[in-house]
Every structure is written in C-alpha cells, then in structure tokens.
C-alpha cells in the first residue's frame, strides 16, 4: 500500500512541526504549509490524500482554504483544527461539508483515528423504507459534498456495509422486516466502527429511541430531519470522540 500524503497547514510552527513528526512516525508522508496561500501553492505542484488545516491563520483562514479546495479538489477530505470552542465560521465549514472539526489540543492517537477514517473516503448510508425520504436525504448530503448511499431496508443495508466503506449509518427506526433497532444492534456487534444515527417520525418514537440508544445508537433525531442538523451530526460523529 502506498503511503498516504498529508498536507498540514498551520501558522504556529511548533505545533505544525511536532504534529508532522508524529504523523511521520506512523508512516505518513507529511508536507507542511504555513498559510492558506502557501498550501494552495504547494497543491499546484503536489497531490495529497488529505488536508489538515488550522482555522485561524493570518491571511486566508482555514475555512476559506477549505471552500477554495472544494472547488478544485472536492474529493480530498479536509479536516479543520481549532482552538476555539464556538465560532460562526466553524458552523459555516461544517455546513459546507468539511469532514470534521477537531479541537486543540488533541491526543495524537485520537487525531490518527480521525485521519485514518477520513483517508478511507467513507460514505454515509441513509436507510429508510420510504424511498423518497432516503433519496432526498442522500441528495441533500451530496449537495454539500458528503458522500452518501441509500438503502431501503435493513437487510440491503447490511449488504452495503459489507461491500462499501461506510462509517456513518443514518437509519429510520420504524421499518418492516429488519427494524431500525435491529439494524442498530447488528451494526453495533458486526460493524462497530460504524456510527449509528437513528431517526424516527413514528408516534411511538420515544420507545423506539430508547431501544435504539440501548442498542448502541450514538444519536437520535426527530423527523423531519433538518439537513444542516444532519450534516453537523455527521461531522461530529466523524470528529474526535470524547
């Protein structure tokens, strides 16, 4: 397997340098850039598999860099780092489909987990027996650059998970045959790296939600699901887990 190339963009030299050194220990090839414009320069000549950028930098911010990269190399996952805990620009990046936002300071182990996940170019699986709902949800995700697939029942969902690189599964809870709760249970035991987000619009949704949480769902949403809430939930699931 060829080594993956990672571009780290941060104006703080010590942070950038030490992070790069740690990633190289893990077998990655790391290129450093000290600003957004420097990064763009580099990317004209080199290709990378992932971009890890600080948000707050003089000149072009990390978010602006990400939006720029979406235009030129949209398939390359971008991770943003920040020391802020609350910022409108972070929200903007999330809603524009950044892979995840990680908060400094972070453990190297944790950032490695996120990096490896991102490098697989994972896909979100939307499962709902109501085909229109599933399709429109997937469309909404693709519109912001999040790769998504659909399944219309639990069983074909399990097939998908076996075949494709799925890291997040968004499932309706009330489905015939294999229910959402059963699917969650299956995923928790057979594919534990998949993060399950359960949603339900049924009238007895509370009981189903409790069962889903007990079965291993990391988050519940009520239908109708706001696409931006969903995108944020996906980014959060893909980020560093506390």
């Amino acid at each position: 397997m060829n080594t993956k190339r990672i571009l780290i963009v941060d104006d703080e030299e010590s942070l950038r340098f030490t992070l790069a050194a740690n990633l190289e220990l893990e077998g990655f090839t790391v290129i450093e850039a000290e600003s957004g414009s420097h990064a763009l320069e580099i990317l004209k000549a080199e290709s990378v598999d992932l971009v890890l950028s600080d948000i707050r930098m003089p000149g072009m911010s990390g978010v602006e860099l990400f939006l720029e990269l979406k235009k030129t190399i949209p398939e390359i996952p971008v991770l943003l780092m920040t020391a802020f805990s609350a910022d409108e620009t972070i929200q903007k990046a999330i809603h524009a489909g950044v892979f995840a936002v990680v908060y400094k300071p972070f453990d190297i182990d944790k950032i490695l987990a996120v990096l490896r996940r991102a490098l697989k170019r994972p896909v979100v699986l939307v499962v709902d027996d109501m085909e229109t709902v599933a399709t429109t949800t997937a469309e909404a995700l693709r519109a912001v650059g999040v790769r998504a697939e659909v399944s219309f029942d639990g069983n074909s969902a399990t097939e998908m998970v076996r075949k494709r690189s799925i890291d997040v599964c968004i499932t309706d809870l009330s489905m015939p045959d294999m229910s959402g709760v059963e699917l969650t249970r299956w995923l928790t035991s057979e594919a534990p790296s998949v993060c399950v987000i359960a949603f339900s619009g049924a009238s007895n949704n509370e009981q189903l939600m409790r069962e889903a949480v007990a079965a291993g769902a990391s988050r519940c949403l009520r239908k109708p699901v706001d696409p931006s809430v969903l995108v944020a939930a996906i980014a959060s699931a893909r980020g560093i887990q506390n």
Partner: protein
Amino acid sequence: MRQRQIITKAPIELPSRSSALRITKLFDERYLGMVVKVDNLLARLMIAQWIAGIAIAFLISPLAWAGKEAVLHSHVFAAIFVGGAITSLPVFLVYRAPGSQLTRYVLAIAQVLWSALLIHLSGGRIETHFHVFVSLSLLAFYRDIKILIPATLVVALDHFARGLYWPESVYGVLNPEWWRFLEHAGWVMFLDGFLLYQCVYSYRELHSHCEQQVALEDAIDSAGKMEKLAAIGTLAASVGHELRNPLGAIRNAHTYIERKLNGEELAPLDPKLVQFFAIITRELDVSSKIINDLLEFSRPREPDLAPCPLKPLVEESMSLVPPRDGVTLVNDVPESLPIPDVDRDQFRQVLINIIQNASEAYKPESTGEVRVAAKTTERQGWQIIISDNGGGIAPDIIDKIFEPLFSTKVKGTGLGLALTSSMIERHEGSIDVDSTEGQGCMFTIQLPPRSTGGAS
C-alpha cells in the same frame, strides 16, 4: 427520597432572603439613632421647662397670704419640687438608657405632666393650655403611635380629674361647665388624628428609605459583579486561546519523544524518566481541562439539542465520576421517562459536576448515597433531582455557590457550578438548591416542556 417543598432559588437573581435581613438591620439602626436624638431633645426641654416653671411661679405668684404674713406661694414649692420630681426620672433614664422603650414612655408621660403643672402654675391661664399641643406634637417625633396613647390618656385623665376636684388649677375658674373637659379633649383628639397619621406615614417612609438603600447597594454590587465577570470573561478567553497552541505543541512533542524512547531504554538510565513522562501527560491533561473550563465559561457553546434518553445518560455520567469509598451512586430515573432534548456532551457535564459535588459532600470514612431521580409534569417539563445526605451547605454560603470563582475547595477553578448553571440556562432550564447544614443537599434541575407537544 426526600420531598422538601421549600426550595431556595439559585441566586442568579437578587437574594431576597438576605436583603430583608439587611433592610431590618438598617431600619433598626436608623430608627434607634432618631429615637436617641428625640430623647436628648426632650430631656433638655424637660430641664428648660423646670427652670421656666420656677420662673413662672416666681413671676406670677411668688407670695401668698398665710394668715397675716407673706410666705412663699405653694406654687413656688410645686414648681421646684413637683417639677423636679417630674423632671428627674426621665432625665436620669435618658442619661443611662437612651433609646430604650422605657425611657421614651417615661419621657412622654413626664412631658404631658409638665403641661399639667405649667397650666397649674399659671393658674389655669388659657394660653398655657397650648403647651399640651406642643407636647403631643413633640412626641410625634418618635414616629410611633404607641407613644401618643399614654400621653393622650394622661392629658385626658388629668383634665377630667382636676376639672372635677380642682377646677381653678386647670380652668382658672371655680365653676366651669361640666362639659368643659370634653371641649379640651375634643381639640386634643383632633390634633391626635393628624399626629397619628404623621407618625404612621413617617415610620413607613423611613422603612421605605431603608428598602431603597438596600436595593441601591444590591444594584451597585451586582453591577460590580457583572463588570468583574465581563473582565474575567475577556481575560479568560484571550489567555485560553493563547495557551491552546503551546499546549498542543508540548503534547505533540511529548508524544513523539515517548514513542521514540521506549520504557525499556529509559528505566535503566533513571527510573524517574518514565515516571516524569507520565507526569507530563497528566499535568497536560489538567491544564487542558482548566483551559476548557475557562473558555467554556467565557465563550459558551450553543447547545446542540437532540433527543437523549435520561436514564442511560445518568448511567454514563455516574460511570465517569471518580468513585469514593462508601458512597453509592443510585440511578432512580425511570426507564420510561419521556425523552428530553439536550446537548448530550453539555448535559453529561452538568450531571457529572453535580453528582461529583454530591459525592464529595460526604466526609472521608463516612458512607452514604447520591440519588438521581427524575419526573415530568405537563406544565413544568422535566425535573431532575440529585440528592445526598452529606455535609450539606451552610446558610451563609448557599446563596453564592453558583457564583463564578466561588469555591469551598482548596483546588479547582471555582467555575464548576457556575458553568453548570449557565449550561442549564442555555437549555432554557433552571437549577435550584435546597440544603440544611449537616443534613444533606438536594439539587433540582428544571427543563422546560418541549415547545411542540407536551412532556408527558
């Protein structure tokens, strides 16, 4: 589970319990100050009246006939001795016990007795009767209607009794009309009416001044606190941000070094090397936590609300609280409790903070439990109750526990409960605490019912 109904409001609003105490204290001080001034005034007046009384006696009726000889009129003796008797006790009391209730009642009665004596000494002269009005008006300076009552009664009794048995002394004539005393009483009542009103009014006015004073002090205090908070917030934010990058670099460097130099190589050089690497990791974590608390406090995150069943969340929180010997954590949240919408990370932090505080309320070597229960009502939404039977919270600090930078612990930022209450507020909820020192503590978190549909 305890079912206490009386709950103290978390003092993010004005603490009215301690305000009432301060108002009372301020009022008592001011009232006493005023009373002492009036006591002194009346005491001096009393002495002046004595001198005036003797002068009047000498001027008007210095001599009388005793048979064929001229002797000093009895009025002179009355002025000196009766006057002296009336004056001495009150003046003594003002000297020894100014401001006491006894002093002012004695002064009141003595004052009207002086009116009576002066009337007598002037031979029932009409104009001297005006002194009664002067006396009663002076007594109104006490702003206390209870003082006027015995004074008025003494005036009435005196006029009635002397009117019957010694009319020249009070009216100056031998045979006044039988209802004459009523005419005098009528005028006194008339004056009393206004004086009573004035007493009540000025008493209340003094009280309301004190209330305003305390409110003003509270407002200044609270403005000062807000300024302090704003300053802390700004400082915390900038310090926190600035520290995160250096911390990140240190951590990364440390991780790299740890990886390159494994324990087997290091230990023979110096066993402390391995230990110190662990220390660096641990203290970096502590630093991160402090910075996170500071930043969370100064730049709070909007909660990311999602349906989150409470029982598993409480379970998770309990598992993250450092265990203490002898303290059992009990999760009494019903399985079927309706699911609230909360920010899972923030609410978990809230629960951890409160449960940990409750667990630490037990002195080492004692046993007890921390119990978390919850219920919902349609109108009020969710109520989550965390109770313990530990040391409780002293009444003089219970109003302050949610204030930032307030802590009874030696270590720590003092932000834990302040953060907790601000996180709850951002969920549009509230938190109250109820505690008796020595008997434990009960925190109640209230979350509003969901806007679409009810909680039940």
